[in-house]
């Protein structure tokens, strides 16, 4: 919030004034109230490995993170460029693979990758779009220095928190929204519906029918699935509701079976179709891939999209962006060592205590090593893992992440954050101003994942 001279940074000027006039006890009470709102609304997630009834709240911090309009415009341009490149890359990888022929990325990176689906080769998704909903994780290390940490191109979650956080702030601090012109995020559900409808299969006549496919109420993100279906006004379906009939995917309604044109699936590739992928899956729809290949349903995001946000691919993103857009990437990648390369591995092993090491296919902050925070024993254990399977890991420097203020017991204190803006790709690319700010609530911690004790806060992009 403050600059080096101890003055509030420009976007925080008004908030800072307002905050100075608030009674700390009242703010603490508001913070409790927010927790109550979340609990009663059922905005919870399930933690894997706990009993099924263990529903947890993600802590919500009532101090907004504020980004100026100017800062945002720069970010948005960089994100759009990246998302366009991701879709072009996916199309290429499942068709002519020109980027490999051009020698920009190694062939084995694709052919040996479990996220690459041979079933998708030659398939052209409706509108040529593979990743319809993207959540680009961004961190800031300085006034003008942003890095992309991850491209979540398969099924980015968390957008319900972006919406509920805003809703909660509007309810609790209406006066702040009179004083500050904050850009809207509330249109996300209707934009998402329009965006998905714009990519309906060519044979669809009338208004395309959209449905969200959920694994069910025990899934960790179930709240989000039902919330989005509710806000979008579309059906929330499970695999058991769906059946392939006459070459279409249809859902069982009280009036009989009705065709679905666009399926926003929140089920992983592997579980999508037991006839094509994991035969044990009861979450998917037998035969849906045949319907998809015949061009009779749009699946968002497309199967096989994971090949573009894999952490091994990530390190090639600067090359990928340049190859498909003809311009240098506007947003930088975090420098990344691929442990599969001998020289890199040697460097990583030597500097383990300074680096962050991640599993190539991991997510959610599991299975990662934060060198500076690790004990000697942890470092040694990780070194063994690295030597055993070097190609399973990448390493990055520990970044001096920016901090934002959060409310703690005695006033406010700085904590590290990242930012996940949400991007919709339909007939146009739309980026929602703001996104989900995740915050590492433990003092000094760099891990913002909710599964690891992270919280969230409302993110404001100002109109200026």
């Amino acid at each position: 919030m403050m600059d080096a001279d101890g003055r509030p940074r420009q976007p925080y000027v008004d908030y800072h004034d307002w905050y100075a006039q608030q009674d700390p006890a009242l703010l603490a009470a508001k913070s409790k109230e927010a927790e109550h709102i979340f609990r009663k609304t059922g905005i919870t997630f399930n933690v894997y490995g706990h009993s099924e009834s263990a529903e947890k709240l993600i802590p919500f911090d009532i101090v907004p993170r504020i980004i100026s309009g100017k800062e945002w415009r720069r970010l948005a341009q960089g994100i759009e460029q990246r998302v366009v490149a991701l879709n072009a890359f996916l199309y290429d990888i499942y068709h002519k693979q020109e980027i490999i022929r051009a020698g920009r990325i190694p062939r084995q990176l694709i052919s040996n990758n479990a996220a690459f689906l041979p079933e998708m080769i030659g398939v052209r998704p409706p509108g040529g779009v593979y990743t319809h909903i993207v959540g680009t994780d961004i961190v800031r290390t300085g006034e003008n220095q942003f890095y992309v940490l991850e491209d979540n191109a398969r099924t980015p979650s968390g957008v319900s928190y972006m919406l509920e956080n805003r809703e909660t702030m509007l309810q609790m601090f209406p006066e702040l929204f009179h004083r500050n012109k904050v850009q809207r995020v509330e249109d996300y559900p209707s934009l998402l519906r329009q965006s998905l409808q714009s990519l309906a299969p060519p044979g669809c006549d009338g208004t395309p029918r959209v449905a969200i496919l959920t694994p069910g109420i025990y899934n960790s993100a179930y709240y989000e699935h039902s919330f989005l279906a509710d806000m979008m006004g579309v059906e929330l379906v499970e695999g058991s509701d769906l059946r392939v009939i006459d070459g279409k995917v249809k859902m069982r309604t009280t009036r009989g079976y009705q065709a679905i044109d666009v399926l926003y699936r929140r089920v992983d590739d592997d579980y999508l179709d037991p006839l094509t992928f994991n035969p044990e899956s009861a979450l998917g729809v037998p035969g849906i891939m045949d319907v998809y290949r015949a061009g009779n349903i749009t699946i968002a995001n497309a199967p096989g999209t994971g090949i573009s946000d894999d952490k091994a691919i990530y390190s090639y993103m600067p090359e990928i962006v340049e190859f498909y857009t003809g311009r240098k990437a506007l947003l930088e990648n975090v420098p990344t060592w691929r442990c599969s390369e001998e020289e890199s591995l040697a460097y990583v092993l030597e500097h383990l205590a300074e680096l962050v090491v991640k599993e190539v296919h991991g997510s959610g902050g599991y299975g990662m090593l934060v060198g500076p925070a690790a004990s000697k024993a942890e470092l040694e254990a990780f070194e063994a893992k690295l030597r055993a399977r070097p190609d399973n890991y990448i390493a990055q420097p520990t970044l001096a992440l920016s901090t934002v203020p959060v409310l703690v017991e005695n006033g406010i204190a700085p904590r590290h954050v990242d930012l996940r803006p949400y991007v919709l790709v339909g007939d146009k690319v739309k980026i929602i101003p703001g996104g989900l700010t995740r915050v590492a609530l433990k003092e000094g911690s760099l891990v913002v994942n909710s599964s690891q004790g992270g919280g969230t806060k409302d993110t404001w992009v100002l109109e200026d």
Partner: protein, 313 residues
């Protein structure tokens, strides 16, 4: 609407209704134990039977004691019809059909679950029971209030309503069936001194011990009690009232869908019986047989609705 959503709504409201009914039964059971001098733990036998869990109880407990029976009925998760199990199942169904519910209805359900889960998490002391039973009735009442106050009167409402009244009819008929032997001997011996406590307990378990007096002059009479609980459409827990509602809901669905199904005929037939019979005939021809028939037909209707509206396949 998805068939699974209709199914979820129907069961959500059945479970919430059941939770409330179990609380009433426990309330009535406690009352008997309090007011009757020679009260025995055997009185709980009837309560467990009315709740349809007598044999399930036997599998969990060797002896029948008041404390064990209350625990089993309110908070034992091994009992699928305990209040805690019902609230959990009702709320799980509500999560499944979240998109069909108004925010008010969902939040009332979720808050009910939060409150009762906490209240029923540990063994209960006898002195805490009145408060807990009150909380159960209040929580479920809030769900019903939010539902009636905020939901559109469309198919969602009707499937939910059918669930409520199917469960309620089942419950009332079971209470009567378990206690019919208390009513029967007295039918012919009007005016003799009878077991008022037992009769009051029947009425109390459907929260009707006061309203009975408003409708029927004079003291407890077997035929009047049976009439009140079976045939009186004004009585919100009577079989006739439940079927008036179910038939109404089904007719709305038929009009909405432009189609009448087998379940419509079944419901109409049950309702016609309840409207045309009088209580003397029913008692003369066998109250127990009448109730057994009713329970069977009520179940059959549930199956026909789930088939007609594609709940499962």
């Amino acid at each position: 609407m998805l068939g699974r959503t209709a199914d979820g709504l129907y069961w959500m409201f059945r479970y919430i209704e059941r939770a409330e009914n179990i609380a009433r039964l426990v309330d009535a059971g406690l009352r008997v134990a309090l007011t009757r001098s020679g009260a025995t733990d055997d009185d709980w036998d009837g309560v467990l039977q009315s709740a349809g869990v007598r044999s399930a109880y036997g599998a969990r407990h060797e002896r029948l004691t008041s404390a064990d029976a209350v625990d089993f009925l309110l908070r034992d998760t091994a009992n699928p019809s305990s209040v805690l199990s019902c609230i959990e199942a009702g709320r799980n169904n509500a999560r499944m059909v979240r998109t069909a519910l108004t925010r008010d209805t969902w939040e009332a359900t979720n808050e009910c679950w939060i409150e009762l889960k906490a209240a029923l998490s540990k063994p209960l002391k006898a002195k805490e029971l009145p408060e807990i039973i009150h909380a159960i009735k209040q929580c479920t009442g809030l769900i019903r209030g939010a539902f009636h106050g905020s939901m559109l009167r469309n198919e969602i409402y009707h499937f939910a309503s059918i669930g409520t009244y199917t469960e309620r009819a089942d419950n009332t008929s079971r209470i009567l069936d378990v206690k019919y032997y208390v009513l029967l001997p007295s039918v012919s011996s009007v005016g003799t001194s009878l077991d008022n406590v037992q009769w009051e307990s029947i009425l109390r378990s459907v929260s009707a011990h006061r309203s009975y007096g408003w409708v029927y002059d004079g003291g407890y009479r077997a035929a009047n009690i049976a009439d009140f609980l079976i045939l009186n459409v004004q009585m919100p827990r009577s079989l006739a009232h439940c079927y008036e509602k179910i038939v109404g809901d089904l007719n709305h669905l038929a009009a909405d869908y432009g189609q009448r199904l087998k379940c419509h005929e079944t419901a109409e037939a049950i309702y016609a019986t309840l409207r045309s019979r009088n209580i003397r005939d029913i008692i003369d021809q066998g109250l127990h047989e009448f109730l057994e028939d009713f329970i069977r037909h009520n179940n059959q209707l549930g199956i026909e609705i789930s088939e007609g509206y594609r709940f499962y396949t």
